[in-house]
């Protein structure tokens, strides 16, 4: 069971959240061409290690969070509330 520390709601169980995938993919410019878009839609780094990912707090504040999580140990090292805010270390969020 993951315990995710939502910046708005506090620490909650993973079942309150929906995983929305790799947050490091960046939408290309509109004229970037088909290959850039195919890569954006389909290709993933699929890291064994730290990964930035989207989690939607559906059972809480309904905000989209960016969570940095280790894909082998499942340790979470940072969580930020919106895409624009800089990542905060966990202690500061608490």
């Amino acid at each position: 069971m993951l315990r995710i520390q939502c910046p708005w709601c506090g620490v909650r169980d993973e079942i309150e959240f929906r995983y929305r995938g790799d947050a490091s993919v960046v939408r290309p410019a509109a004229d970037a061409g088909i290959d850039a878009f195919a890569s954006y839609v389909y290709e993933r780094g699929n890291q064994c290690g730290w990964q930035a990912e989207w989690w939607l707090h559906v059972g809480g504040c309904r905000q989209l969070l960016t969570v940095e999580r280790h894909t082998l140990t499942h340790e979470i090292r940072s969580i930020r509330g919106t895409a624009d805010e800089p990542a905060q270390p966990l202690d500061a969020v608490r």
Partner: protein
Amino acid sequence: MHPESESQPQTTDAAPSSSGRFSGWRLLVEGLTGQRGWSRAWAKAAPRPRYRVVIVGGGGHGLASAYYLASRYGITDVAVLEQGPIGLGNVGRNTTIIRSNYFRADNIRFYDYSLKLWEGLEQELNFNAMVSQRGTLNLFHTEAQRDLFTRRANLMRLLGVDAQSVSRESVKALVPLVDLDNGRYPVLGGFLQRRGGTVRHDAVAWGYARAAARAGVDIVEHCEVTGIRREGSRVIGVETTRGPIAADTICLAVAGHSSRLAAMAGLRLPIESHVLQAFVTESIKPVLDVVMTYGAGHFYVSQSNKGGLVYGGGIDGYNTYGQRGTLPMAEEVAAAAVTLMPGLARLKVLRQWGGVMDMSMDGSPIISKTAVQGLILNGGWCYGGFKAIPAGGMTTAHLIARGEPHPLAAHFNLERFAAGRTIDERGAGPFPFAH
């Protein structure tokens, strides 16, 4: 006869020498002489410095590909490199269900070819894989679901594949434990494929390994691939924990680790790694002689020959390389089990484990050349790659030997994503965690 038999090359007889053959007679003789005459099923090969073909991954697909390369395509200068002992990956972790009840015609053909290979596999490999065609029964709980299953059954029958609908009463007759009128999702009926069933998964790894080794393939265990060597745009070999090995063709068959191996050759794949769990209860007397799936949640169950109920559900839902599983999914799956068969509530779960799988962006596998010359990918098997082992191995061997895709697996190419020809059975879109 399978439909594409004309396109199959001639079989070269790779039957094991009679001295090492398994038979009822030998079983009897060994039983009377203290079981001292058995020999190792396959040799523990040390890697040679070069091979024509190196297959990375000693799971079902890697071993089957090697076996068919040697037995059907006459290529025996082949090594299978496995980081641990063979058979401890997903081939030994799955819930052992085989079936060909897919929705899309190209998938029905591929998976039914696999089912036909399963039907003759034990004779071909001279190995008891306990192929049991006990039938797979999918339950439906709404009228829309019934229409969808009926359509699927019709599509299958048009292609000559067995499928039938069964009434509520027949569901009860097949599986008396089912609570047809359960309060949440009453059962309206079912969809049955008689030829579906289960196979002893470990025996599949061992049977293919033994037959491949006898046909001349080197099976190299405890040999982890740590790098892929290239010269310009083509592969020339691999780096391993047992030294470098040169090869003309490298085939990746590493199940949940395809992205990591592809990255060694500079490729990004349309794949995420996710964990799927399986559960086994204590043994009970025979209560379930089909494979049954629930239509109002993700849950499938069969009873093993030892009497335990083997069941599973969906993936945990977020990327992971951790070969374990978490509790929310264990609870969800158990809830489905008890909704459907309240009598199971008293059973104790004895064992639980997880396996890391490639979840592809459209939920379908990849058997394909890649942008790197000489590098072939067999991966993206998601939940469903066990049943596909015979056909996956055969069509991968074809691709390696002939340099062009086998007609039954041509749609599993990597270009389908950029070309907009994804094979999305569920229509779930490019979200691996949704397939």
